[in-house]
Symmetry: C2
Subunit: 896 residues, 2 copies
Amino acid sequence: MANFEKFVYRFGKFSTDGNREMKHLLGGKGANLAEMSTIGIPVPPGFTISTEACKKTIDNRMEWPENLIDQVREGVKHIETEMGLKLGNEEDPLLISVRSGAAVSMPGMMDTILNLGINDEVVEAIIRKTGNERFAYDSYRRFIDMFGDVVMGVTHDHFEEAIEKLKKEVGVKEDLELTASHLRELTDRYKAIYRKITGHMFPDDPMEQLRFAINAVFNSWNSARAIKYRQISNIHGLIGTAVNVQAMVFGNMGEKSGTGVCFTRNPATGESKLYGEFLLNAQGEDVVAGIRTPNPIAELEERNPEIYKELVSYTGSLESHYKNMQDIEFTIQDGNLFILQTRNGKRTGAAAVKIAVDLVEEKILSKDEAIRDLVDPEHIEQLLHPQFKDGEQAENTILGSGLPASPGAAVGKVVFDSKKAEEAGKDNEPVILVRIETSPEDVGGMSSAEGILTSRGGMTSHAAVVARGWGKPCVAGCSDIVINYKTRSFTNGEVTVKEGDWISLNGNTGKVILGKKELSKPEFSEEYQTFMDWVTDIELMKVRTNAETPEDAQVARSYGAKGIGLARTEHMFFKPGRVNFMRKMIIAESKEERVAALSNLLPFQKQDFAEIFEAMEGLPVTIRLLDPPLHEFLPQEKEEIGKVAGELGVTPDKLLQKVNQLKEFNPMLGHRGCRLGITYPEITEMQTRAIIEAAIELVEQGKEVFPEIMIPLVGSVEEFVNQREVVDRVAQEILADAGVELDYKVGTMIEIPRAAILADQIAEKADFFSFGTNDLTQLTYGFSRDDAAKFLPDYIERGILKQDPFQVLDEEGVGQFVQAGTRLGRMVNSTLKVGICGEHGGDPSSVHFAYNTGLDYVSCSPFRVPVAHLASAQAVLRKNKEEDENSDKPMPTVRA
Amino acid sequence: MANFEKFVYRFGKFSTDGNREMKHLLGGKGANLAEMSTIGIPVPPGFTISTEACKKTIDNRMEWPENLIDQVREGVKHIETEMGLKLGNEEDPLLISVRSGAAVSMPGMMDTILNLGINDEVVEAIIRKTGNERFAYDSYRRFIDMFGDVVMGVTHDHFEEAIEKLKKEVGVKEDLELTASHLRELTDRYKAIYRKITGHMFPDDPMEQLRFAINAVFNSWNSARAIKYRQISNIHGLIGTAVNVQAMVFGNMGEKSGTGVCFTRNPATGESKLYGEFLLNAQGEDVVAGIRTPNPIAELEERNPEIYKELVSYTGSLESHYKNMQDIEFTIQDGNLFILQTRNGKRTGAAAVKIAVDLVEEKILSKDEAIRDLVDPEHIEQLLHPQFKDGEQAENTILGSGLPASPGAAVGKVVFDSKKAEEAGKDNEPVILVRIETSPEDVGGMSSAEGILTSRGGMTSHAAVVARGWGKPCVAGCSDIVINYKTRSFTNGEVTVKEGDWISLNGNTGKVILGKKELSKPEFSEEYQTFMDWVTDIELMKVRTNAETPEDAQVARSYGAKGIGLARTEHMFFKPGRVNFMRKMIIAESKEERVAALSNLLPFQKQDFAEIFEAMEGLPVTIRLLDPPLHEFLPQEKEEIGKVAGELGVTPDKLLQKVNQLKEFNPMLGHRGCRLGITYPEITEMQTRAIIEAAIELVEQGKEVFPEIMIPLVGSVEEFVNQREVVDRVAQEILADAGVELDYKVGTMIEIPRAAILADQIAEKADFFSFGTNDLTQLTYGFSRDDAAKFLPDYIERGILKQDPFQVLDEEGVGQFVQAGTRLGRMVNSTLKVGICGEHGGDPSSVHFAYNTGLDYVSCSPFRVPVAHLASAQAVLRKNKEEDENSDKPMPTVRA
C-alpha cells in the first residue's frame, strides 16, 4: 500500500490519522472528528475520504482512483474493530452513516444518509438485539427513503405519499400510531416504489450501499445548487468535498444503554456543575416525542457512577478545548459512552457573564477571548432591566403581541392618559400607560409609568424611542388590541381590560400578559463588575450617551459614558411652566414678541445646561439646537386648543389659525432643524446664550466644561455658515463680556444625504460631525419611520430587507454615506471629531461598523451604554483576530 | 523711439495699432476698441497702455519704464489730432476718460474716471461751447469726486455728505434741483474736502491728472480685492492690467450734436430695420432723467440724412461683426458720429427666432451659431403660450402676485370648485379655477379651466405640476389673496372678487389682474418652423415627453418628442367611472375582492395604453406603475365620504375607518411606489396585463410598439427583482398565449438616494433608468416640495440657495447622484438606457447637465418639448465650441 496515495483517514479511540489542521483535505467536519478523537473524546468511530479522492473521481469520469475501494474496506474494518460489530452481520450488525463535508460548509451538497447497512437479515438482528420491532422497521424504512431520495433521485414525496396512503388504510392520523407490522408493510412498499422508479432492486449488500452513497456525495459537489452557491459566495480554491463514514450508535440496546443531553455549566446561572438529563434504554427520538420523561443528569451518577465519571471527564475536556460552555449530546451503547455532538451552549445574560469570568479565572481562556467570544451585547442588555421571575409560562393569558420596543419587564395597572399616569406616579402606584400612539405631550405620563403599551407605531415610533432612552419597558404597535379611550378599555376580541386592571409587559418579547406577574429586579453581580471592568480597560472607541436631563446623564456616567453625544433641547421645552412660553414664541407676530417670549425661556435653558454640564464635568457635551417643526409644540385637538388659547390670552380662532398655518404635508421634510434657526435667528441666539452663560457659570466655579453646539439638519455649507455665524457672534460677545476663555466647538449633524456627499465643504467650517443615522436612514431609503410599519414587516418577511434599517444600520446604503461623510470631512479637516448618535449608536453590529469606519465615538441611550461598550470592545478584538488570521490563512478565500 | 519697447497702442479713425488677438497685452476692452476701429467703427479715439507696462511699473516699485511718459504724450497727441481738440486748452478743450481693463474682467479693479482734463479754465471753455453752465459744473464736480475717490482714496461718502449739506442749506430735495451756481459752489467745497484730506491742492494740470489716474489703475491690479478674486476664481497667467485712455464726447454741443440709442433690428418683431430714438443737443443723462422726450430714430433720417446713413452703415458692420442684433449707444459731437457702446440686444421670443433665421439667410452666421447663440430656450417658451396683447399696463388693477408656476396668459370667470369648472367647460365658458390648493380630485376642473390660481403651494405643488404638464397658465401660492369657499369669493383686503367675476392671469410674471384682458394666441411663424427644423436636425440627446393621454402624446409628438419618458398611470384612475373601482380595490378586505375590483379597471387601462401606443407608434413609451399612496384616491371631507360610501355600498363609518387607517405622517415617505406593488402584487399584475395586452393589440394591427415598464420608488435591488418577476411572469404568460413577440423593457425610476449609490446592483437586473429628479431632490435635501414654500423664498433671498432646486437641478448635490447612478449603472450594464424625467427635464440648464452627464434622453411636459430640444441642441453645440477653444487657448486659465 505504500505506493498508493492515502485517501482514507481514520478516527476513533485507537487509530486516528487526521487533525484539525487538515480541513482542506478532510473538510471541516472530518478534521473536527479527527481532532476530537485525538484529544480522547469517544466519538463513534469512522473514517473520512479526502477531498483529493473526490477530485480524482470527478476528473476521471466517476471512476474511483486505484486502491480507493481497498482503503474504504480498510476503513470499514477499522470501524468494525472499534465497535466490535460487523457490517451486514446477522448477529452483531454495524450500521453506519454517510455525510458530505467540504472545507467550507455549503448548501446544495448531499444530505446525511443514516442507518446504512440494513437489509432484510440485518433488520431481524436488530429486532433481536433491541427487542423493539417497531424501531427496527422504522429505521429500515427511513433508510430506504433517504437512500432512494439522496442517492437515486427517488424524491422524498413518493415515500411520503405511500405513508399517507397507508395511514388512511389503517385509519390513523399520526406516524407514531403506526405499529411495527404497519412499518414492516411500509418497508415493503418503499422497496416496491424504489424498484418501480429506478428499475433496480433495492441493494441488499451493505458494501454496495456504501459505494453508491459515497458516489452520491462526490456527485453532489458539482450539483447545480452547489456550483451556484460557490459562485455567489465567491468561494474559490476548494478541490472537492470529503465524505465522512461513521458508526451508528443506539441507546436502546437495553438497560446498559441510554441517551442524554447536558450543558457543562448551568445555562441559567452559570454555576460550574454538569446540567442536563438522560434516559436509559432509549433513543433521542423518544425524548423528543415526549413518550418518556427524562431524569436529571445527577441521577446518572447513582445509576451508573462509572459512565457518569467518564462523561464528566469528557465534558471537561470539551469545554477546555472549545473554550466555551458546551451543549453535548451523548449515547451509551451497551455500556460504551459515545459523544455524538458538542456545540457552544445557549445561556442567560447572568450565566454568560459568570461563565466568562469563571473560565478566565480557571485559566481556560484569556480576558480578551472572554470579552470577544463569550458574552453577547444582548446578554448585557438583559442584565440591565427587570425581568419576569418565572419567564413567560404556558398558563399566562397572552393579551397580544407587539414589537419588543424597549427591553425589560413591567407590571402595573392600566391607565389611558398621561395625566392619570402622572397622578398615579405621585401616589407611587405602578401603572402601565396604554395609548394608541404617544406624542411629546405624553412624556410626563410616560415618565411616571412603569411601562408603555401602544397599539400603533414601529420600533422607532415616539413611544419606542423615548422609552428606550429612559430604559423603560415598552411594547409598541400591538395591533392585536383595540383601544377605546371613551370606554376607557382595550380588548383583543376575547378579553376586555378596563382602566385599573393589572397587566404585565415583556419588552424583550413584545408579549402583553393579563394580570400581575412577579418581577426580578436587575442585580449587578460581582462577576458583572469584574467583566465590565475588563471591557472598559480595552483601548476602545468612545461611548457617549444621548441624554437631556442631569439624572440621565448621571446614570450614563455611572455606566461609563464618556460624555454626551446628543442632548435634544426640545425635550426641555415640554416641561410644565415652559411650553407656554414656547407657544407664545410661536404665535408671536413680530421679532420683538418672539424675542420677548424666548427671553422667558432663557433662564430655564441655562439652568438645564448648567446641571447637565455639572453631571458631565470634564467631559464633552453635545447640545443640538432646536430641531422639531414648531407645530409639535401646539395642541392639536379642539378642546385643548380652547384651553391653551385661554392660557396664552389669545382667541381660540387665532390659535387654530396658527395650528392650521403650521400644518405640513410631510413634517419630516418641512420647516425644522436649522431651517428654523435661519428663519428665526433669535432662537439660535437664545440657545447659544443659554449654553455659553451656563458654561461660564461652571468655569467660574473652577469646573471643566466642553460644550459642543450642534446645528441640526444641515444640507449645505451655506446653512451651516449662516448658523455658525450666529452662534459665534453671540458666544464671543458673551465670553468677551465675562472675560472668560472657553473651548467650545460648533459642528453639525450629518443626517441629510446632500450633507454627506458634500461633507468636505461643511468640514472646512465645522469642528465636528455627528451622524444622525435615524433621519439619514429615512432619507436614504425614502422611508418615514412613523409610517414604515405599514410595509416593513412585509419587507422583512419576504426577504426584501434582512432587518429593520432603523434598528440595524444599513451598511451597504446608509453606511456609504457615513463612510463618504467621514472620508470627505477628514480629508479637509484632519482634527474633525466624528461620531454617530441616534438609535444605531447602541446597536452592536452598527457599533462594529462605526469602529471599522474609524469614528471617534458612538452615542446611545444611557441604558445601552454598557451594551455599546461591550460591542465596541468586541469590534476591536475581532478586528485584531481577523488581522491575525488573515496573515496565515491563504486559502480558501471566502468573501464576507 | 525704435529702441524702446512699445507700451502704447492707439485706436481711432486714422491710426490703430492693435487688434482683437491682442487681449493678453491690451486687455479685453482695449483689444475690442482696437478691433472696432480696425473695421471702421468711429469709437471715440484713444490709446491703450499695455499690461507689460503695468507689470514693469509694479516690478519697479511704481517707477514707469523709460519712455512710457513719452509714449503716453504721443497717445494724447493722437487723440487731440483725431478730435481736433487739445487737453487743457482754454478754447477747444479735450476731456478724456481712464479705465482699467485686464484680459479677464474682474471686480476690485479701478473704476472709471470720466471728464479728466477739467480745471478752472477748461470749465469756462465748456460753458462757452455748450452754453450750459450747469452741465459744465456738474461735470467738474463729478470729476473731482471720482478722482478723489478712485485715485486718492478720498472716499465717495465725503463728497456725498457735502452735497446733502448743500441741499439742506438751499432747501431742495433732489440733486436735479440744484442750480448752476449751487454746483459751482459745490465744486469749490469738493476741492476743499480734497485738500483737507489729501493735504494737496486738487491738480490743475491735465497731464498730471492723467499720470495720477494711470498709476491708480496700475495699483489697483494688486488691490486686496483683486488678488482675492483671482485666487478664488483660480485665474492665473495674467501679468497685469491695461489702461484705456479715451476721448470724452458730448452730444450737447449745439444742434449739430446729439445722442441716441438704437437696435439694429426691431426687438419686438425682429423686423430688419433700425429701431430706436435720439435727441439733438443733449447728453444721455437728459434722456434718463426724463427731462426731454426723444424722437424715433426714423426722424434722424429727415433731420440729418448724412449722419443717419453713416449710422446705418456702422450698425450693419457691428451686427455682421458680432453676428447678433446689436443695442448701440451713439453720440454726435459737432457733426461727428461716435459709437460709444454696442452689445447684444434684448428681444422677444418672436424677434429672437426671426432674427436668427434672417441672419442665417443673410449669411452673417451659420445655422449652428444661430442655434447656439441667438435664441434662448425661454424665447421658445414664450412662443408656445398665449400672452396679454398689451402686456401688463400701469392702469391694470393687480389683485396679487404669486409664483409664475406655468407660463402663458389666461382670462376667465372665477369659479371655486372643480365641478363648476367642468360645467362651464361643457358650455365653452372660459373660467379660471381658484383654489387654496388643488388635489388629484380637481384634475377634471383644472382640465376645463383656462387657467389656475392657488393661494398656497410652490413651483412644484400639484397645481403647478399638472398645469405645466398641460401647458395651462397657472399662478400658484398667491398669498396676497384670501379665498373663502363659503362666501365663494376671494379678497386681497382691498378688492373682493366674487364667483363669476372676470380675472386675468399672467403665468409668466405671476400677476393676477382684475377684469378681462385681451389675449394674443400663440402663432407659429414660418421662421419658427425653419428654426426648429434646424434644431432637430442636429444629432442630439433625445427629448421625450411626460404624457398620459393620447392628446398630450400627439401634441408632444407634433413638437418633435421622440417618445414618452413618463406616463403616470394614476392620473388615469381619477377619470369618472373609474375612481370608484379604484376605491373598491382600496377598501377590499381580501385579495379576491381586490382582484375583482382591479379586473374592472383593466379594460380602461388597456384602452388608455392602446391609445397612447397608437399616438406614439414606433417610439418608446415608458409607463410608470402605480405610484401615489392609496389615500390620495379616497375622499377626505366628511360630506364627500358619506356620498362616496353610498356609491361603494359601504357604511360611512367603514370608509372613514379606511381613510383614517391610510393616514400617514409623511406620505411622501410612506406606503407608495413599488412598496404598493410588493404588498399588493395584483396591482402590478393588472397593470402589466393592461400594458402587454394593449401592445399585442397594436402588434396584431401591424404596428410597432415599444413599451417600457417602469417600477417606481425602488431603493434596493431586492425590491426591483420582486416587481420585475411579477411583470415578467405576467407578460411572458400573455405573450406566450397570444403567440406574439414583443420587445418590452423593464426598468426603474432612480429617485431614492440609496438606489443611486447602489445603482450597479439594480442595473444588473434593469433595462433602463429614469432619474426622477423631483423626488430625488426632495430626499437629497430633505425638503418636502409641498412644504418648502415656508422657507425656500427666505433661503433664496439670503443666498443660502442660488435657485429653487425643484426648478433648476442642484448639480453639486442631486447631480452627484445622477452622475453616480449613471456611471455605476453603465459599469455593469453597457446597454442601459438612462434618462431624466420630472420637472428638470424641461429646464435648459438641467438639460445641459443631462447632456454632459451622458444621458440618452430627457423627458418633459409636451409644451416644453421644443424648449428642451433647443437646450439639448445648444448643449451639443456649446460643448463642441468649448472643445475647439480649449484646443488653442493655453492661457489664461480660468476654472469654470
